[in-house]
Amino acid sequence: MAKLIGGLGTSHIPAIGGAIHRGAQQEPYWKPFFDGFAPIHDWLGEKKPDVVVMFYNDHGLNFFLDKMPTFAVGAAPEYHNADEGWGIPTMPPFKGELDLSWQIINTLVEKEFDIVTCQEMLVDHACTLPLKLFWPEGDCPVTVVPVCINTVQFPLPKPGRVYALGKAVGEAIKAWDSTKTVAVMASGGLSHQLDGERAGFINKAFDLQFLDSLESNPEWATQFSVHELVEKTGTQGVELLMWLAMRGALATGGGPKVRRVSGNYHIPISNTATAVLALETL
C-alpha cells in the first residue's frame, strides 16, 4: 500500500510568483517568508515523496460562477497553469497521478462526498506556487492530484465537513495499491481580507492558535461556522479550510499522531499573514 508521509501547508499569494520570477527571495521584504522553507526542503529531500494531493482554492481561473463546485477532484494526466489576468509568467504543466485520482474519487463517493471530477483542469497560483516553494530547483519532482475547495461563493462547506473530506482522502491514500510515497498539501491563508472597508484585517492571535491546534488538537477549528471564521480570519482567511482538509488526511482512523517538522509565521506578505508548516505522520 502507498505510504502517507505527512502534510505540508503554505500561503499562496500571487506576488510570491513575481518574487520568485525576479529572484527576490533574499530581499529584506521577502527573506522572512522564504527562509521558512529551508528546513522543510531538507526534510523533503530525505523523504522524497512521489505524489502530492493538493487542497487548494481556485481564484477564478478554472471555475466561474456558471458552474461552481463545492469540492472538485482533478483526474487529468497533466495540469496546465495559465494567465490569471496579471501577466505573471506561467509555470510549466504538472504531471497528474491518474490512478490515485480515481482511487480518491471512488473512495470519496463511496463515503458520500458527491464531488465533481475534472479530466481537464487549469490550475492557478494556489496550486502552482506551493509546488515551486517546496521544490524550488528544476522540474517539479512530484506528480499531483489537485482537490479544489470552493471559497469564492457562499455557502462554503462547513469546517467539520472539510475536515471529514480530508480524512476520507487520507483513507483513500492509505488504501491505494501502490508502492509510492504521498504527501498532502494545504495552500492558502492564513488570516487576510482583500475586500471592503475591513481590507487589511489580520488576526495574529487566532492564526497562532490555529497553527498550534493542527499539531495537537486538529479538530479545534471545526467548532466554528464559516461565518465565524470570516469574522475571525477575514473573507479570504477562510482559506484555512485547506489546512483543515490537509490535517484531516493525517488523522486517519483516530491516529496516527503527527510531529511538527518545521514551521514559520510571518506578517505581512502583500495583505496576508503567511504561514508555512510541515507535519510528519508518526
Binding site: G200, V230, I267
Partner: protein, 115 residues
C-alpha cells in the same frame, strides 16, 4: 428559514444574493484572464461593458475604478482582482482605496498587525 447572520464590519460575504446581482460584472472580470480581452476592454471600455450587459451601477463603478462601489454592485474580490490588474494596481493600492488611507498608511497597518 434561517436567521440572518450577524453583520461583520466592512465585509460583504459573496452569497447567493451577491452572486446573482454581480453575475454580469464578474463574468466580464473573469474574461480578463485573457490578454486579448484585457486589450479589447482598454480599446473601448463602453463597448466591452455593453457586450457583457453591465447595469448602470456596475458600469458607473467600473468607470470610477471604485472598489467599494464594485462590491456593492455584486463584484467578487477574486474576479475584481483581475480588473485591478489591468491598471497595474496591487492589493495595497486596493486596500488603501477601500479604507480611505494612503498606500503607505495601509502598508504600515499591515506591518503593525504583526507586532
Amino acid at each position: 428559514m434561517s436567521q440572518p447572520l450577524p453583520k461583520i464590519f466592512g465585509t460583504t460575504p459573496f452569497d447567493g444574493e451577491q452572486a446573482q446581482k454581480g453575475y454580469a460584472l464578474n463574468k466580464m472580470c473573469f474574461s480578463f484572464n485573457a490578454a486579448e480581452n484585457r486589450n479589447a476592454f482598454k480599446a473601448d471600455e463602453e463597448a466591452y461593458m455593453r457586450q457583457y450587459g453591465l447595469n448602470d451601477a456596475q458600469a458607473a463603478a467600473i468607470r470610477a475604478r471604485n472598489v467599494l462601489q464594485l462590491i456593492a454592485a455584486g463584484g467578487n474580490a477574486y474576479y475584481l482582482a483581475k480588473f485591478a490588474g489591468i491598471f497595474g494596481l496591487d492589493m495595497q493600492d486596493i486596500g488603501a482605496q477601500q479604507t480611505g488611507m494612503t498606500k503607505d498608511e495601509f502598508k504600515a497597518k499591515l506591518v503593525a498587525a504583526g507586532q
